[in-house]
Symmetry: C2
Subunit: 417 residues, 2 copies
Amino acid sequence: MNAEIICVGTELLLGDVVNTNASDIAQGLAHMGINVYHHEVVGDNPRRLRECLRDSLSRCDLVLLTGGLGPTYDDLTKETVAAHFGRGLAMDEESLHTIERYFARTGRKMTENNRKQAMMPEGCIILQNPNGTAPGCIIEGENGKTAVMMPGPPREMRPMFEGPVTDYLMRRAHDGMLVSRTINFFGVGESELEARLREMMVSSTNPTIAPYAKTSEVQLRVTARAATEEEGLRLIEPVVRKIVEIYPDQIYGFDFHTINEAVVKRYTDAGKTLAAAESCTGGLIASRLVDLPGASAMFGCGVVAYSNETKQKLLGVSAETLGRYGAVSRECALEMARGVRAASGADVAVSTTGLAGPDGGTDEKPVGLVYVAVVSDRFEEVRELHLARGRADDRENIRFRSSSHAFDLALRALRQL
Amino acid sequence: MNAEIICVGTELLLGDVVNTNASDIAQGLAHMGINVYHHEVVGDNPRRLRECLRDSLSRCDLVLLTGGLGPTYDDLTKETVAAHFGRGLAMDEESLHTIERYFARTGRKMTENNRKQAMMPEGCIILQNPNGTAPGCIIEGENGKTAVMMPGPPREMRPMFEGPVTDYLMRRAHDGMLVSRTINFFGVGESELEARLREMMVSSTNPTIAPYAKTSEVQLRVTARAATEEEGLRLIEPVVRKIVEIYPDQIYGFDFHTINEAVVKRYTDAGKTLAAAESCTGGLIASRLVDLPGASAMFGCGVVAYSNETKQKLLGVSAETLGRYGAVSRECALEMARGVRAASGADVAVSTTGLAGPDGGTDEKPVGLVYVAVVSDRFEEVRELHLARGRADDRENIRFRSSSHAFDLALRALRQL
């Protein structure tokens, strides 16, 4: 099955909003094994949408549209698409009730315009929208062509696409469903993974194995098409086991989005606490933990010791260490971690000190040199990192990757407790 | 002049990369007064690119393309576009030398493939790429149609678009140049700005006045088309002065990207230092400062006091305050700011304490309640904020907006020093 994506919205056309819907939908379709050959963006203009839709449906069988389902006069996606399929619009009572309930729940006033959102193409499949007022819908044409319409705001579009639309497409395209597991790696690059697992990735078609590189970490997503979830997991399991055997030390978990999420989950589950003393990461370790709900149970204390004075006063780093080895040193990193652990009483403490640049590097201590330390009762480790790549975004990258290394060390220390 | 944007790249089509190029280009064209009616994404496939280009150039006069200028066999944008205009490719010696110098500078090895990147369409205008190996180019067809080709990586595309491509298009479209100033607002919403300045925004065509809402702040960009920079600034100046008169208290600066940048710049210029004690923002204040090069001169100390224990031990918040008013209180916020100021010796200190949610709220202290304090020798202020909006991204939003309020208070305190 071939598909195209049409995103409708003047705010997209003018560039005021970045089109994350297209990439979210495209990724999802790729997982389902549905080919995508075009994305298009058009404004809230019925003539241009009509032309765009006509061209798309002449090239493919399935068009997914986002946007233009709102209550205002220029939201015309449903009208335009329905007309293409020779359908009229009719009031859908269930959608109307859902919209009324949504307004009652959020305490906002419903206007006459919002009734328009319950006018749906005749004979369509309606997709309820628990996160907003605009229902989506699917029109199946007599000619085997299908149009799926979803709302434009990503927080409404995404759950609708990942839920009912994915279920619908999997039934249509494969007479089944998608089941997937994510393997979380730290400390191994995407290209190394691809090289080592290439044969497995190419030969395995169900499940498929696809790498996703994020800043500082890599994921492998193993995705099976199956009639049931059990069957899917049965297909996935031996593949995952084999990969774990190949990388026993670089896999930090499964089905996490990022390594900070693993830290919050694992520490909370174990009832242990973590503290952080940050120089070059400057609050990023704390912030990446506190980003996540529930972090308060495992993270109570962080010190951003950007100056030497703070390193001494709040963390007890000795003047001798700073004088002899400098702030960017193995010794200073260790004393910072020990200092914040003592001040906070946490089970484990991590620290970072380094040169994020762009200025301040020397031949002996170049930009990109970072020390990351972890300490607990039974475990101490300092990692020396060289993270500069000579790029414009080095500063951001050095800080982010340093914080991820601190999380990796924090997970390793937790396993030793 | 009407334009379309075509982004070439299988990674875009599969959704592995979000298409920020299209929105960046679209915003720029909107500023120049060039209308855009379509964006398209196609993969690295010459047939589909050929069709897409043909359709686009039948509808408009100017097509901007990104991607497909790389060294590998599937990078075929130049070849495909040149063929559409009936042009061949020829080696451009200057581009070749630039590529050779780029490899020499970054210490990487140049391959035979990279020579292909210096093969340029006959009679084109070449756009040098100081940030990568792929030059861009412009083909002006005999029929008045124009194609602009730029590399795909945003950090290469953006400077090329904002520099030589914008200059070229301004000369073509307006026989002039674009000059703009940004007015930075904090504490006033986009809709309020639009309502109050609507008449001015609608009636002013040169310069144009356009609002941009960012998380927690708003910018107005005033953009003039003029023959010279002096003339542009002369057109802009009275408009800016008028807006400053209307909002004497909510404008924190000019031409900043975000309010944290203003804090680093202003404190550094004044030779003053700032410290932060963070509870609900959890390192975000520190992180948003340390994000910026040069922050070390004005920010030496931050404490992330997520637990009450840390608030007491590191910041000296009294047990009585915590017992009587609770951690989320005006009193606690003040003591936190005073505490970190005392510990660090900074000129000014800010603090945050609040409920970012999703859990932990009560009727008396609901999620979204945040206190932000600032203290200096001569100035103390606590702001009570109610930031919940009942949305899925509330936690992130509450934390981010709280940190922006801390920056706003830090700027106000600095003005009183």
